[in-house]
């Protein structure tokens, strides 16, 4: 996959999501390929990143949810409460999110996050930056600006 003339290697794929990586940007991208990712595939994709980070530098992670129309709250809870703190200890602290353009999806994400923050406290994301962007090009430009 090419973004702004930068080549991203496909490092992992299942029927629901693809994982790309570029070493120069130290960026991994998870792209939802279907309107729903079952929890088993969701976890396996993200656990692949957990393993990858042990051998390759990954400081930035982008989750492109534009194809999603349904998100699974238990998956999201695991993503926030288990996966993010785990990869934070490995130095992955900059997260980028691209949501579908439908406003109701953003509202649903807000509702899901609200519930997770109530359960675990807002400090669950302490030390992590979460940036909402519109495109993958935006992710690269944001990283270039901050570097």
């Amino acid at each position: 996959m090419k973004i702004l003339n930068f080549e991203f290697d496909l490092v992992h794929q299942n029927p629901y999501a693809s994982l790309y990586y570029n070493e120069e940007f130290q960026l991994a991208i998870c792209k939802a390929d279907q309107d729903y990712i079952p929890i088993a595939h969701f976890k396996s994709t993200f656990l692949f990143v957990s393993e990858m980070i042990k051998t390759k530098p990954i400081k930035h992670f982008a989750f492109d949810k534009r194809n999603l129309r349904t998100f699974h709250q238990p998956s999201m809870e695991w993503y926030f409460a288990v996966w993010k703190p785990e990869v934070k200890t490995e130095g992955l602290i900059h997260h980028y999110k691209i949501l579908p353009s439908e406003p109701w999806f953003a509202k649903s994400v807000q509702a899901g996050k609200h519930e997770i923050f109530q359960k675990y406290g807002e400090d669950i994301v302490e030390g992590i930056t979460i940036t909402y962007v519109n495109t993958l090009e935006d992710v690269l430009e944001t990283i270039q600006k901050t570097n």
Binding site: P15, I39, K107, S108, G112
Partner: protein, 294 residues
């Protein structure tokens, strides 16, 4: 992908969709209830604030003087005052004694509640201080006011912006003399032939004189037909076709056109012209003016 896996996939997705819809609906209801509660509190606070300002307006208006005092000394007189936000920094002062009358106009810094507090303080201070000052010496009255403002509002410690600009006049009926003193106060004398002369003033405000000396000026009443003193809220008002200021020039043109009208009629004309100029534009500042016919 086999059929069993497909069924599992759609079952999980359907469950997730139902769960997402229920969670989002609950969240939106919760948010709406929260907003309604906050809106209720804001409405209550707004009503309390408006009620307080309403009372404050009555207090400030109750301090306005009776124009008939001026009418008893001059051929005719009128004044007009319209604060920007129900209460404000403009005030009219009139006080008479056995020998004549002191009168004037002050425009305290800013507008709204802080300006109103300052304006009320100025009014009460003027009432108190005026009895110790001779009619022919308005300079001393403004000097005392300046001193009191600095002292009362602790300007040296830079905690206060207690300043006011204005003009005070003293009319002595025994010898028919009129003296004035102005600290950034604005006004015009209009002769019987319609010539307009601007009243002189120092360029510093009361509360900020900082050793700048005030001075009395005597007005020769022989040729004077009208005296007009005003606050800059009138000339600074935005409006008209191009949303520009009313300007002093437009005010002088208005005077030239209507100076032969009596004070009350002329005051109504100015108020109407001001309103026409302003139209739907927000009031820029507090406005006030006094007109005296000789």
């Amino acid at each position: 992908m086999n059929i069993d896996l497909d069924i599992e996939y759609y079952k999980e997705q359907l469950q997730a969709k139902e769960d997402m819809l229920a969670r989002t609906t609950n969240y939106l209801i919760e948010t709406q209830n929260d907003l309604e509660e906050k809106n209720k509190k804001i409405s209550e606070l707004y009503k309390d604030t408006l009620d307080s300002i309403d009372v404050a307006q009555h207090i400030q208006e109750s301090l306005l003087p009776d124009v008939n005092i001026l009418k008893s000394y001059f051929k005719n007189a009128a004044y007009f005052i319209k604060q920007k936000a129900l209460v404000g920094g403009d005030t009219i002062f009139i006080k008479n004694n056995n020998e004549g009358v002191q009168f004037g106009l002050l425009d305290a810094t800013g507008h709204g509640i802080p300006a109103a507090m300052l304006s009320i303080s100025c009014t009460l201070l003027l009432r108190e201080l005026s009895s110790s000052v001779e009619l022919k010496d308005p300079k001393s009255l403004l000097n005392l006011l300046d001193y009191q403002l600095e002292k009362a509002f602790d300007i040296d410690n830079k905690l206060s912006v207690a300043q006011a600009e204005g003009i005070i006049l003293g009319y002595c009926s025994k010898d028919n003399t009129l003296n004035y003193c102005s600290a950034k106060g604005k006004g015009f004398l209009v002769s019987k032939s319609g010539e307009i002369v601007e009243l002189a003033s120092i360029k510093k405000s009361l509360g900020d004189l900082n050793k700048v000396k005030l001075y009395n000026i005597s007005i020769d009443l022989e040729e004077v037909q009208k005296l007009i003193i005003y606050s800059d809220g009138l000339t600074d008002q935005f409006g008209g076709e191009n949303d520009t200021r009313f300007t002093k020039k437009r005010f002088k043109n208005l005077i030239t056109e209507h100076f032969d009208k009596d004070a009350e009629t002329f005051a109504n004309i100015i108020a109407q012209e001001y309103q026409t100029w302003r139209d739907d534009t927000a009031q820029t500042d507090d406005i006030s003016f006094i007109i005296i016919d000789f």
